[in-house]
Symmetry: C2
């Protein structure tokens, strides 16, 4: 039996930070038929707000520590301003949608990250097996589009900051039990580059061996490796299609499948 | 035919500002059986954040003007931090719930307030006849409890700040078509007082004539008159029960109906 398709799209900071780019993206996204889930990060807005409030961002090994003040800031910006701005813009484009975060309906139960050598603070780890897929399916039935901010909570009511790529991946894995999922990581490059300094060197098809070579080469740009780890996890869990792509190319790729980097086993 | 009951509760600033009071309130609220809608204001958090950011709050005739920076702040605090904190705490009390604002699913369509002598800025006016009751009913079926932040938007994607008492009232009016609605305005007094300086002078039953007397007397405290205007609008639209009550007394009143001030025709 042919299964219904669903689109799971992650948009990153660069598009969120640029009001015109975001508006353009949402205009196209609104036109895509069928059920869809949009997971957004937070861009520089949270960092900017922290700066304005004089809250120092602690970084350890290049990773941000979420203390209580930072948690408040990311919850306000991600689940508040960005999430509701996106939904309002989609509604204006006649794309019905609802904005939630992992806390709502306990859709994405999380556990506070266990402290080994580094205490990341109020950071939530999640697993697709715990996602309340039934409720998400019902929201998709009613609204068509669900916009998800990367805030979660644990069982005792503690809000937690969770990586948006991780949420997109785990949501895709959970939805694959019910739909054929196309998972897109949209970012500011045309795809994964064989030469990080050459924007035209897009790898059209990337398998696990190739990925291992990239890791060994040591010249991948910041943030690409964790994104690819997520992408390969989705592949491993049988998500129908996984691509890394420029946000501007999403619509074209949905119709012709020739853009970006296809991630496969 | 006896209709199902639903509770529509507005909680105000004083309880939001006090972490312990909020936690206590939510603990009791979580225990109430049946479908319920909780509308929250924002308390002093938005004002505090505006102060920290050096954003001057403009007041005209004692009413706040929502400029674009203030809009961002109220959206972040109301729809972000407060809404998600409430939902996380309810979930921790085994009360399933979803947090939304009027923007989500275009649940509460608004129009930007028309400028007559005063430009209130990004403020949204609403009417219960436009509320998408069918979607709200579906959310109540799935989650049982819906928590609503007082942010709305118009048809072209502009976010708008909307009074939480007004939202509670209009939601109650919209729900009355489907349920017997009990509408509670919870605040920091035991009810409407006959003597504003005597907390024990609670008026147990207040009709329109009595309200007219209070208005004429000119000694009602700030904010009481608009709250009562809202309460009487709900009465006029046949909402089954309308009360103004202390947050701490809500649970007791639900079982014995002897607390607070009953508003009636």
């Amino acid at each position: 039996m042919k299964r219904e398709k669903i689109l799971v799209v992650k948009i990153g900071g660069n598009i969120i930070d640029d009001e015109n780019a975001l508006r353009q993206f949402l205009k196209s996204f609104a036109k895509i038929d069928g059920k869809k889930i949009l997971i957004h990060g937070g861009g520089k807005l949270a960092t900017k707000l922290a700066d304005q409030l004089g809250i120092q961002q602690q970084m350890v090994n290049g990773r941000r520590i979420t203390d209580i003040e930072t948690l408040k800031i990311v919850t306000m910006t991600y689940a508040g301003w960005i999430n509701k701005s996106i939904v309002a813009l989609l509604q204006a484009e006649q794309c019905d949608s609802i904005g939630v975060c992992g806390v709502d309906g306990a859709l994405i139960p999380a556990t506070k990250r266990v402290v080994h050598d580094i205490d990341y603070g109020y950071v939530g780890d999640i697993n697709f097996e715990n996602i309340q897929a039934d409720k998400l399916l019902q929201l998709l039935e009613i609204f068509g589009t669900v916009v998800i901010a990367p805030i979660t909570s644990n069982q005792v009511g503690q809000l937690l900051n969770t990586n948006a790529d991780t949420i997109a991946t785990q949501i895709a894995c959970a939805m694959q039990n019910y739909y054929d999922v196309s998972l897109y990581f949209c970012f500011e490059k045309k795809g994964i580059l064989s030469n990080p300094n050459d924007d035209s060197s897009v790898i059209s098809s990337l398998d696990k061996n190739y990925f291992d070579d990239i890791k060994k080469s040591g010249n991948a740009k910041d943030g690409i490796l964790p994104k690819l780890e997520n992408a390969f996890l989705a592949v491993e869990k049988n998500v129908s299609s996984v691509k890394v792509i420029h946000a501007e190319d999403l619509i074209e790729d949905i119709s012709n499948n020739i853009k970006g980097t296809l991630i496969h086993a």
